[in-house]
């Protein structure tokens, strides 16, 4: 097991060994117009997240006291200094939205990385462990899944204290059982196949069997789950922020922005509309991409 980290890194690039695989994947993925569109939006989202400091016209926390609740430029009273208007304390909406992409991206990446890494390891272990260990692990996962995800995340944040980091920890904990179940299920179905037996007969150790023989063949559902939980993570983090249990003001996180905007909903539609629209577009793009990934990985399911 000591060599686990370096062996685990290898399956990430199966295309080295089978050059046709990526091309085949792309061939199927490209066919799905929605998925390709989602991919472009997602690339744009990542670009904004990385470059927010450079493209944002203003500092996201700077308060322009003469421009409170100024509407977007196309409405009466708006101007081009603040393209999408300002919020109740005079901060530029556009700049805050652009910086918000950074937080959502950050949440998605960290949550998916933590929950997928942890979940895949536990699932892989459960698939290879003796039956009683497997049973215990799966029961623990059942227990976590018995709680509605948002409720468990809320309670975890109540224990840890409200902040974006703690919200991410809570969401990662809540999402991780899905990876465990998925990985374990594919490991169990792969384990009994001939190529695994062959590897075992030729003397492959348990570590090699786990990470080099079996894991790469279990990856496609995990990748799809990764895409889907990326969007779940963004949604849940925004929901926690909205409930006041995620990122704290004045952080320009989309959910937190919505929470701050709640009292102005009937006076200034733009402070409410844009942050939610940003969440919706991002999540929609990722879900479109996830659907495309699923279809591309599993041509059997393509007809549905």
């Amino acid at each position: 097991m000591a060599s686990a980290p370096d062996t685990a890194a290898k399956p990430a690039a199966p295309s080295d060994e089978r050059p046709g695989r990526l091309a085949e994947f792309w061939y199927y993925f490209r066919e799905n117009r929605g998925a390709v569109m989602g991919m472009w939006v997602f690339i744009g989202f990542v670009f904004i997240a990385v470059m927010a400091d450079l493209i944002a016209p203003h500092d996201p926390t700077q308060q322009f006291r003469e421009h409170l609740l100024q509407p977007p430029f196309w409405e009466e009273g708006g101007d081009f200094t603040f393209l999408l208007g300002t919020d109740a304390v005079g901060r530029d909406m556009l700049s805050r939205l652009l910086h918000g992409a950074r937080y959502s991206f950050y949440v998605g990446i960290i949550v998916v990385a933590v929950s997928a890494l942890g979940g895949v390891m536990i699932g892989l272990f459960a698939g290879f462990a003796p039956k009683w260990v497997d049973t215990i692990i799966m029961r623990v996962m059942d227990i976590i899944l018995a709680f509605p995800s948002l409720l468990l995340a809320l309670v975890l944040v109540a224990i840890l204290g409200p902040s974006l980091t703690n919200a991410m920890i809570a969401i990662a904990v809540v999402l991780q059982p899905h990876y465990v179940r998925l990985t374990r299920a594919s490991v169990l179905s792969e384990r009994s196949k001939d190529y695994v037996t062959a590897a075992r007969v030729t003397g492959a150790g348990i570590g090699r069997l786990m990470f080099i023989t079996v894991l790469p063949n279990c990856l496609s559902p995990i990748i799809v789950q990764g895409a889907l939980s990326f969007s779940t993570a963004i949604l849940d983090a925004a929901a926690l922020g909205f409930l006041g249990m995620g990122a704290q003001p004045p952080t320009p996180e989309w959910g937190t922005m919505l929470a701050e905007a709640r009292e102005f909903i009937l006076r200034a539609w733009w402070v409410v509309t844009f942050p939610g629209l940003a969440i919706l577009i991002t999540v929609l793009a990722i879900n479109l991409m996830g659907d495309g990934l699923r279809d591309a990985f599993d041509p059997k399911l393509k007809r549905s």
Binding site: I143, P148, I159, A239, T273, V283
Partner: protein, 335 residues
């Protein structure tokens, strides 16, 4: 069938104990002294502190504490709320009908629209209707429902002035609530307009809470229908000259319903998670809002008890769905 039922129950029990363990550890996991934390900024006198330590049994060994807790749980004793001093159990079941009413309406809304949408999409596969419906479903599926709620409030309540913004009933009416379901109680009260007020208050929360289940059901129905439509017996039914409506509606839909029903059953957890947001936004006096308020009020016995009751409820529903599914589909039992 009995054996299957038994094996399902056998997995239920350890999960139940695990859930109680999590609920039990909740108060003890809070950083710092739980009593000081619960007292908050007001502080607590030494006498009251000693009293509370005794009340919670913090002076005894952990395992005894857990035993006592479990004993209390199976006897319906979940402790008292700090704020209202009422038993958590009573509070939960006083508020539960509100959540149940909202969830049922949301589910009816989701099924009533989702099922036909899925069938229409599947029958018109690849055509305009299919694409339009499935794109809409994906948008619904990706919707941050708390924002959706705010948008609906802006447009329907604000601009159009059609529905109220919060609560379950207009303050003009006052009557007893024997069942806890506003729709039924308002009818029983016999007061003119009370029922319409209840309906008006329900519309927006129902749409908000039902949106994601609606999208899920539409997507699931479509893929289940497509699966069934490619079966041989459908071809037979078509070949022998049955009307397309009968083939789609009777032969196909019936068999496509099984996975759809499972999805409906298993979305109870999602519904309750959605209820947390929906009830908070619409000030709907149900258990979702109650949980959020309790977390903010540091009313930890309520959080602990509510957490346990909600989890057990989700587990019971999932178990029931599993067992029913095994009953409908004998193939499942064999696994």
């Amino acid at each position: 069938m009995l054996k299957y039922l038994f094996s399902r129950l056998l997995t239920f029990l350890p999960t139940f104990f695990g859930v109680t363990l999590i609920a039990f550890s909740f108060i003890r996991l809070l950083p710092g002294d739980p009593i000081i934390v619960m007292a908050g900024e007001r502080g607590v006198s030494p006498e009251r502190y000693a009293e509370l330590v005794k009340q919670f049994g913090f002076d005894r060994p952990l395992i005894t504490q857990y035993g006592d807790y479990l004993w209390g749980v199976v006897h319906g004793n979940l402790g008292q709320s700090f704020v209202t001093k009422k038993p958590v159990w009573d509070e939960f079941f006083a508020l539960f009908p509100a959540t149940l009413e909202l969830s049922l309406c949301a589910m009816i809304f989701a099924v009533a629209l989702g099922l036909p949408a899925g069938v229409i999409a599947a029958v018109n596969r690849g055509k305009f209707f299919d694409r339009a419906l499935m794109s809409t479903a994906l948008v619904g599926y990706s919707m941050p429902i708390f924002w959706w709620a705010l948008l609906l409030i802006i447009v329907v309540s604000g601009w159009l002035g059609l529905t109220p913004v919060s609560g379950r009933m207009s303050l003009m009416f006052y009557f007893d609530t024997p069942t806890g379901f506003m729709l039924i109680d308002s009818l029983l009260s016999g007061q003119k307009g009370a029922f319409w007020s209840a309906v008006h208050h329900l519309i927006l929360p129902t749409i908000v809470l039902g949106t994601i289940p609606l999208a899920v059901i539409a997507r699931q129905t479509r893929s289940a229908m497509l699966e069934v439509l490619s079966e041989d017996y459908i071809r037979t039914a078509r070949a022998k000259g049955l009307a397309p409506a009968r083939v789609n509606g009777v032969h196909a839909l019936r068999n496509a319903l099984i996975p759809v029903i499972t999805v409906i059953g298993l979305s109870v957890g999602t519904l309750l998670a959605g209820a947390i947001l929906t009830e908070t936004i619409f000030s709907w006096p149900g258990i979702g809002k109650w949980m959020v308020d309790s977390i903010f009020r540091r009313d930890y016995p309520v959080v602990q008890g509510g957490l346990l009751l909600i989890a057990v409820m989700v587990m019971i529903v999932n178990l029931t769905v599993d067992v029913l599914y095994g009953y409908i589909n004998p193939k499942i039992r064999k696994r």
